[in-house]
């Protein structure tokens, strides 16, 4: 099984409506419901907020990665929404603790750890791909679902050979202890 098999166009919305994080999350979750990934929007969103309460899921570059585990999940997958308008999202990447988000990767994961382990491995691979700054920048430019999937799957679509992955300014680490253990 490959990554592209869990990237399902039915749960991608390039014109996600919503003026708040909650509205955007609910609208994206409705797609998961319609496509048979979850059995209950309210329960699923509630479980997403359990994880949200543990720490911010905004990851910079206007991208957020909410990812609760829920008993409402019937099928593991990842819903992707590009918001029509930016929504405010908790983030560890900015000083005030918030960022503007316009792309949401909503991880749809069962609370049963033994559930579809091979799918979980693919979701882990997908998460790793979001660690590439060039890729997440490219995501902002896509115009179709197939292009979006291509940017996620193909490393060659987002990193030219020899090109540095990021020249973005980042916060300097002032204090760092290195200890022998």
């Amino acid at each position: 099984m490959e990554l592209k098999e869990i990237l399902d166009e039915k749960i991608i919305d390039l014109e996600l409506e919503g003026t708040t994080k909650d509205e955007a999350l609910r609208n994206l979750s409705k797609r998961l419901l319609q496509a048979g990934y979850i059995s209950d929007v309210d329960q699923f969103v509630k479980d997403i907020y359990v994880r949200e309460a543990e720490g911010p899921t905004g990851m910079g570059h206007k991208i957020s990665i909410p990812h609760g585990k829920s008993s409402a999940v019937r099928k593991i997958g990842i819903a992707i929404g590009r918001c029509v308008q930016d929504v405010k999202w908790e983030s560890c990447m900015s000083e005030d603790g918030y960022q503007d988000t316009n792309i949401i990767f909503l991880f749809c994961v069962s609370d049963d750890n033994n559930f579809a382990e091979n799918h979980m491995k693919l979701l882990a691979d997908l998460a790793g791909k979001l660690g590439n700054d060039n890729r997440v920048r490219k995501l902002q430019e896509v115009t179709s679902k197939s292009e979006l999937i291509d940017v996620i799957i193909n490393d060659s679509a987002c990193v030219a050979e020899g090109e540095k992955t990021s020249d973005q300014e980042e916060e300097t680490i002032e204090e760092l202890d290195i200890d022998l253990i």
């Binding site: 899921t57 791909k129 202890d177 253990i181």
Partner: protein, 104 residues
């Protein structure tokens, strides 16, 4: 340098893997060898071998929950940080380690 490390976040679904990738890239771009073990909800992947550990100059532990197998790194220089630090500043992390250890 040879850099090794472990990432582990609360849910073990997303940050563990994103941060592993970020550290890997920052280290590789700075000309280091790097291998990061992920300890997520699906267990440990890309596991560090005794050879990896023996050859390593530094160990990065980027985590929000306890990581398993820390005793493997006995006698090694270890950087112990919350996962958000590596998420935010992977390059600065590598640069600061270079400076502190006086190695390129």
């Amino acid at each position: 340098m040879k850099i090794i490390g472990i990432t582990a976040c609360t849910a073990g679904i997303a940050h563990t893997y994103i941060v592993a990738e970020k550290i890997q890239q920052a280290a590789t771009e700075a000309g280091h060898e790097c291998k990061i073990e992920t300890q997520g909800t699906i267990g440990a992947q890309n596991e560090l071998t005794p050879e990896d550990i023996k050859a390593a100059d530094v160990v990065i532990l980027a985590h929000d929950i306890a990581v398993g197998g820390v005793e493997r790194f006995k006698g090694k220089p270890v950087v112990d940080i919350p996962i958000s630090v590596a998420m935010k500043s992977p390059k600065s992390l590598i640069a600061t380690i270079e400076k502190k250890l006086g190695k390129k």
